[in-house]
């Protein structure tokens, strides 16, 4: 019976309903479209152009013809040990920078998550490095903290009886990592603080009543509650540090131990190399690597978004 009735019903009501839902669908989508189209134009178009350039041999200065060479650039890339070095630097800066910042940031957040005299002032002092211009951060660390003659760090080292260190020129990677940790710790601290303050108080109270020690409360309740916040901090920190350019440009201007992949791509292209085809192939590799990281990261993130439905 239903099979005979249904088609008739659909033919009577269907078009009107689906017409309305289609209209409704577009009415809902419309506010999103301008932003969506602009982001596609600003990010996807250049990306597709990059993919095309990476398959060509294109030397801009002195001007040469653009020739399609297929995967030649990618084959050369395997033999370019400078590129390999740049990958190692990128990984070191990102991994140590993010880990250092998340560990210190969590420690600072735990210190701040209690009432004490001048709590607001302490938090304000601690977040300041994150608000400074990255260029300024690089320059003041290089010229006033790391400086071989007048640097504050060397002054302290000498007072303690050590020998002065040429931080930036002898230990470029370490110097950059110190600067990155300093700038990103406040950001991690604020995220962890948001996490600590959203901890349900009644659960902690119940655990205390049950006689749990502060340490076991921290390990079993606080840490698991903080996990998504930690993941968010690591995710956002990684996105930014993998693209690091500013501090390298003003502190070392590249060189062994400080040229990361973005800086190398820059040097190969508009930074003086003018090998647009070759440089594009490097940047495509960066994108592929980022996609791998992003897939992992987005999975984490989607876990976070799903959690929202349960909560």
């Amino acid at each position: 019976m239903s099979t005979t009735v249904r088609p008739r019903l659909r033919s009577q009501i269907g078009p009107k309903v689906s017409g309305r839902t289609l209209d409704e669908k577009w009415r809902r989508r419309l506010p999103l479209l301008p932003a969506l189209l602009i982001m596609i134009a600003l990010t996807q178009v250049p990306f597709v152009m990059s993919v095309y350039y990476s398959l060509t041999d294109w030397h801009v200065v002195p001007p040469g013809p653009r020739e399609f060479v297929g995967f030649d650039n990618y084959q050369q890339l395997v033999h370019d040990h400078f590129f390999g070095d740049a990958i190692v630097v990128s990984i070191q800066l990102t991994v140590f920078g993010v880990l250092g910042a998340i560990v210190l940031g969590t420690a600072f957040a735990l210190l701040l998550d209690r009432k004490f005299f001048g709590q607001g002032v302490v938090r304000t002092l601690l977040i300041t490095p994150f608000l400074l211009m990255p260029v300024v951060v690089g320059l003041i660390w290089k010229n006033q903290m790391f400086h071989g003659l007048y640097g504050v760090l060397n002054w302290v080292i000498e007072k303690l009886g050590g020998t002065p260190v040429e931080f930036v020129s002898s230990h470029p990677t370490l110097s950059l990592i110190i600067v990155l940790i300093w700038q990103w710790t406040p950001f991690m601290m604020l995220i962890m603080l948001a996490g600590l303050q959203s901890q349900p108080g009644d659960v902690l109270e119940a655990a205390k009543v049950d006689g749990a020690t502060p340490f076991s409360i921290f390990r079993q309740l606080t840490l698991s509650h903080l996990r998504p916040y930690m993941e968010l901090g690591i995710l956002l920190g990684t996105i930014y540090l993998i693209q690091l350019y500013d501090q390298i440009a003003v502190m070392t201007g590249g060189g062994p131990g400080s040229t990361n992949v973005p800086y190398y791509v820059f040097q190969k292209s508009i930074g003086g190399g003018w090998e647009f085809g070759q440089a594009s192939s490097y940047s495509i590799v960066v994108v592929l690597a980022s996609i791998v990281i992003a897939t992992i990261a987005l999975r984490v993130l989607s876990g976070l978004l799903k959690g929202e439905e349960i909560a």
């Binding site: 152009m49 320059l139 604020l190 916040y229 508009i270 594009s280």
Partner: protein, 285 residues
Amino acid sequence: MSQADAAVAVGERRWVNQVLGLLAWVTALLFFFPVFWMVLNSFKTEQDANASPKFFFTPTLDEYREVTKSTSGVLSFSEAYTNSIVIVLVSTLIVLLLAIPAAYALAIRPIHKWRDALFFFISTKFLPVVASILPVWILARNFDLLNTRMVLIILYLGVNLPLAIWMLRSFFQEVPHELIEAAEIDGASLWGQLRSIVLPLAAPGIAATALLCVIFAWNEFFYAVQLNPVDGSTVPIWVTTNISTRGDFLAKLSAASVLACIPVVLAGWIAQKRMIRGLAMGAIK
């Protein structure tokens, strides 16, 4: 637990609390030291700045005068500041105009696949800037946009739009649904709903979002130095012009750095709590 035990426990806790508070203060002062030192150096003469660390000296405003005076042919302080202010304000305004309706479509009247759309916006932040700088540079050159304010206004849209949508979505979610439904029954249009309900209720969140956009755009260096090295240069580029290869420059650089950072540091201090709430809740709530 006897009363004496309890008193001991409370006393012990207070003692621990005081030690931890002290530790927090010491940590904060040490951590803040490079900023403090930069400010101190900016009031020194070059002679005092380029010496073994000095805490006591005769303060002077000479270096501030030095960095703000304009010499023809050199990027001046007022020029860089004007460029930065125009670029940052215009791009942030456009970001909000685009992000508010988009966040509405993701949070309040969600489209069918809102999660995919949100992921697309976030995923654009994973594309390294270097991967796009060549085509962007070529396009900008072909459209005669190199060394113009316009090119940075457009690019900072791309930098901040995903972040703004992400944050605004989380703030919009807190707007009670009943209010929106009531307005809809009253026949309010999208603009009507935004103006009468969403915008007033989410105003603090929108302000925090705008501030974050301002901070990122103000501090941006890579696009600025690649595309606008000659004209339309912004404050970060001006800061780097205060390094000289000959002679001492630490006091001068410090004064320039203080001037470059002040607007954003003040804004960040004011908005610190709300900014991070928006960022953290965008993902977690």
